[in-house]
Amino acid sequence: MAQIITESLVESLARERAFQLLDQGSAYEILGPFDGLESPHLAAQNIVPQFDDGMIIVKGTLNGQQTVVISIEGNFQGGGIGEVSGAKLAGTLEKVLKECEKGNTIYPVIIYDTGGVRLQEANYGLLSIAEISAAIVALREYVPVIGIIPGKVGSFGGMSLTAGLCSALIMTREGRLGMNGPEVVEQEAGIRELDARNKQLIWQMIGGAIRKESGLADVIVEDDIPNYQNAIQSIWSGEVELQHRTKKVDHYLSLYKSLDVEVKVTPEQAKEHFNTKPAVGDAELPAPTEAVSSTGRKWFDLLANGQPSISEVPSVLVADTTINGVNARVIAVVPNPENNFYRARKGEIGLLEGWTIAKYVHQAMEEDRDLAEKRLIVPIVDVPSQAFGYHEELFGIYLACSAAVDAYASARLAGHPIVAALVGNAISGAFLSHGMQANRLIALNDDGVNVHVMSKKSAAIITQRTIEELDEAAKEVPSMAYDIQSFKKLGALYRLLDGVNAKEPNADDQTILVNAISEAYNDIQADSVRDLSSRLKSEIAVSSGRKASIQVREMIAAQWR
């Protein structure tokens, strides 16, 4: 019997994976375990850290081309993104971007094996993922950013948003790509929505094979090193055409608008939907007969100055207005109890909402293309979460969120000043999609304004701790806390506004926010920087909030050769 010896990527640890992919003898590691840059936040919570924080950066050549592989260790804390690991990934991509801008082409490859944000560091993960996303969007203009999902953990949570932003995705059948992990969907939506133990169904929904067959992944390979290398080469050479999925707004929006999910859609049927050109209908989506009040809607009405929403999707409000004389587009996501997607009726960001945000941000970019002064864009952030549901995962909610991220990031790079106003909840993937790509973040100092990555109940289950233990940990580690004062300690807020009634705003409250937005607008205009680096340069960030994030970036630059 012939023996076939394969060199498995799936079965290898993250470091081995990175070295295996690159030309033998060409590669060296940046910020390896001996550099001792581990998470400062895990030990503070009595959790054993790893010397490299589970993120491996290896630079070398592949087929002679300068390549850097960033490989996530799925065995350590589920591949979760914390401050150090997140900064290692973001910082590497930012460094590659700088090199590419200088004309020195380096090809980035990300090996995904991650559950998303590391819940023990929570908001650091959120900030990092926003920075990773921003770097991918900028870098894609120079060089294909390739993502590989070999499998074991797969790619989930906020990191799936970054996977959706990659120029091309390579998967195995064993790989999985989704936003909310099956256990979290079951916890949030109930076992009748999704039974997380039904492994066969899960792979039929979000496994590599169906993602490829549905056009969401580019290459599917058998797990053997040369296959991955060939796949990468075929993407570099142009043999595999880049899909730019996050730009296909009309296609995906028509698909989700025409979808009926009253009866459960099977994975087979979903595949058919993906592969059929959706009818370009002007079908009216069901809207509530009476607008449901929400903090987001109240602030939208105030900032829009009575302008009606031009959005075709009732759960996303869009209006053009002026803010202290500056042309602005205001965008809010609001509850719609009539939403066809029953898991997105309370103001969550679901399939429709992500793509609708993308549509109206791209529209503003298109309309202002020839203008020197690009329109100010103001996402009003009052979003309880992304939508947790079976259909959401089946139909790729991660990509809807990627599309929104892409739109905001692209608008920012094109010169649109973006100022996000946090007036209510700013949670997890919803905040990443709607607000986190802004040049400046402004928040109201109110107990109704919260920033976090997961409900306490789910976070407790996933990290196998009690809610009391989580609250205790949050006292030591501000990134774990939910309140806006703790978030401020990370240094990413431009302004935290006192004395504003967030839930029942009046004209005075409006004036305070409008003036702060103007101030942020002027600050952006006075600055030629279009990336998110201001969050690392604030006084709080430098002195305490982002010390490790800054140190990681400095050390990457020092070890780069």
Binding site: L13, E16, F19, V48, P49, Q50, F51, N75, F76
Partner: protein, 102 residues
């Protein structure tokens, strides 16, 4: 998390540093770095508390078989004594004979 430190006299030097393993379920990560202090120092951080006696025995056995001047740092995520011994042997193998990516 528990921190344990052991120190033993040693006489032989090793060629190079080594890194093996991962802080994953039932596994551990070991860093070995050469020193010229004629000591084997073992620093352990473990998520499983209350097993000092077992650790002591495992490390004593390792040191009795390996005379190396080194700082050995361990991050443990619930490895059994057998796994600990195998990983230690693997780390020494690398620091004596190479074959490490670092």
């Amino acid at each position: 998390m528990e921190k344990l430190i052991y120190s033993f006299p040693a006489s032989k030097t090793i060629e190079q540093r080594a890194h093996v393993g991962v802080v994953g379920s039932g596994d551990l990560e070991i860093l070995v770095e050469p020193t010229d202090e004629n000591k084997t120092v073992v620093e352990i951080r473990t998520g499983i508390t209350g097993f000092q006696d077992t650790w002591k025995k495992v490390i004593e056995r390792f040191v009795s078989q390996n005379d190396i001047s080194a700082l050995i740092r361990i991050n443990d995520f619930g490895a059994t004594p057998g796994v600990v011994s195998i990983r230690l042997a693997q780390a020494v193998e690398v620091s004596l004979h190479g074959a490490n990516h670092n």
